[in-house]
């Protein structure tokens, strides 16, 4: 990476940082001041504006892992491996946020931290799969083997999602459906102010994803560069 390219990158990421900051400021104002408190659920319902965007972001991140894994196996370029790695890390973080904010809301509303409902179960399994994906990356030395193995798992893992979805859905329909879950859906018709707040929050989180991606990818590339320079130094002595 030469100096000019770095400067150009800096300019782009500055723009991204500022727009993310503005979007998050707007989202915070909307969530804590603008949107009215939900009548039946009370103030705890506001966690939804973090919960839903986090869920969207983690699924989006896992999809990016899938695409980048295919592209890596196809083109064999280190670039795609870095993208897949960065995206998986972000996805796991936001998936964890989903699993944390969910029980916070569920405890007062459902009266239980956790229910073995289809959506909860599949999110948990998804979290496990991608945590294992990150573990796999620590298990082999850096290089083409690690990238290839991770890419295979990225593909296999994402293809598993429809199977998980249907199996836990059918698994649960044999039991009485917990009727609380219907309260949660967007389908019931939300108040326009709530919808707007959710939209702003979604935008802010999506911008955050690209910001984090940029930082993480740059970090990984610099690491590669440092590795290379160290190796050159060792060999030149």
């Amino acid at each position: 990476m030469n100096f000019d390219a770095m400067k150009k990158n800096q300019g782009e990421s500055n723009l991204l940082i500022w727009s993310t900051a503005v979007a998050f400021f707007a989202a915070m104002v909307a969530i804590f001041i603008y949107v009215p408190t939900e009548q039946t659920e009370g103030v705890v319902q506001r966690v939804m504006y973090f919960h839903v965007p986090s869920a969207w972001l983690s699924f989006f991140a896992f999809f990016v892992v899938f695409i980048c894994s295919i592209l890596f196996l196809w083109k064999k370029e280190r670039e795609w491996d870095i993208y897949a790695h960065a995206s998986a890390e972000i996805g796991v973080i936001f998936c964890s946020l989903v699993l944390v904010t969910g029980p916070l809301w569920a405890r007062p509303i459902w009266g239980a931290w956790w229910v073995w409902d289809a959506r909860l179960t599949s999110t948990l399994i998804l979290w496990i799969i991608y945590t294992v994906y990150l573990m796999l990356r620590t298990q082999s030395d850096a290089g083409s083997m690690r990238a290839r193995y991770a890419a295979v798992l990225g593909i296999v893992g994402f293809l598993n999602i429809p199977f998980i979805h249907f199996s836990v859905l059918w698994w649960r329909t044999f039991h009485p459906q917990p009727k609380v879950i219907t309260n949660e859906g967007i389908g019931k018709g939300m108040d326009p102010t709530m919808l707007a707040t959710l939209g702003v929050s979604l935008c802010a989180f999506t911008l955050l994803y690209f910001l984090l991606m940029g930082v993480r990818v740059r970090q990984e590339k610099l690491k590669d560069e440092v590795d290379q320079l160290t190796r050159e130094k060792h060999y030149s002595v």
């Binding site: 294992v132 796999l136 082999s140 593909i155 296999v156 598993n160 998980i164 199996s167 059918w170």
Partner: protein, 226 residues
């Protein structure tokens, strides 16, 4: 095509001959499956819960746990003395290695399951002979899916630092859908539901099997690459 089949058969045959000579794996798998069933029986009270409700889950837990022993060995064995390199140097496609290993894993596990089933029938007091054909069909589909994904991940895990630990950790979360499906189907088959009554589960399992065999064919080249 004929060449392909004979190459696959040669690799599977090699595994059988090794096993016949050493007799290490099969006994361990069988005893381990038996132990898993015993441990579960200790943890539940069969006079309170209905055996046909908990039985399928326990049966499949035993199959999967002992099947993992077989999978772990499948490629680890080849790591010794550089046998894997020898296999890869052979003038054959990489998919041949995958299918050979898939077949030997599948047959080892199937034989073990055939030995476990009568014991399951005795321990849980469930008459499986009544619905034997649907039951065997369900077990066939489940075992095939387990081996399809398991063989792929076993080839991958054999090169990792902590291979014995990593294989189950990699494999079990991905197996969740097929485990739910086969446990449901086994329960229904034992209750006398005909196969037509569980078409959604069969569809899920069959597509799981097909998709993961397909993915393995496409990705095995990238795993077995030196």
């Amino acid at each position: 095509m004929n060449l392909f089949l004979s190459q696959v058969a040669a690799i599977a045959w090699k595994d059988f001959v090794t096993e016949l000579k050493s007799r290490e794996l099969f006994g361990a798998m069988f005893i381990f499956a038996l132990l898993v069933i015993l441990i579960f029986i200790f943890s539940i009270n069969l006079s309170v819960v209905k055996a046909s409700e908990v039985g399928p889950g326990i049966l499949w837990a035993a199959f999967l746990f002992s099947g993992t022993l077989g999978l772990n060995r499948s490629f680890m064995l080849e790591q010794e003395n550089g046998c894997l390199m020898g296999l890869m140097l052979a003038p054959a496609d990489r998919t041949v290695i995958y299918f050979g290993k898939l077949i030997s894993n599948f047959i080892f596990l199937s034989i073990m399951e055939l030995f476990i089933l009568p014991l399951f029938m005795i321990f849980f007091n469930i008459d499986i002979l009544e619905h034997l054909l649907p039951l065997l069909f369900v077990i066939f589909l489940g075992t095939l899916g387990f081996c399809a994904l398991g063989t792929l991940l076993s080839s991958l895990a054999s090169n990792l630092k902590y291979r014995e630990i990593m294989l189950p950790v990699l494999l079990y979360p991905l197996l969740v859908p097929i485990v739910i499906a086969v446990v449901r189907m086994t329960g229904q088959a034992l209750n006398g539901t005909p196969l037509s009554g569980m078409m959604n589960w069969i569809g899920l399992t069959v597509s799981f099997d097909i998709i993961y065999i397909g993915v393995s064919i496409m990705t095995i080249d990238h795993i077995l690459e030196e």
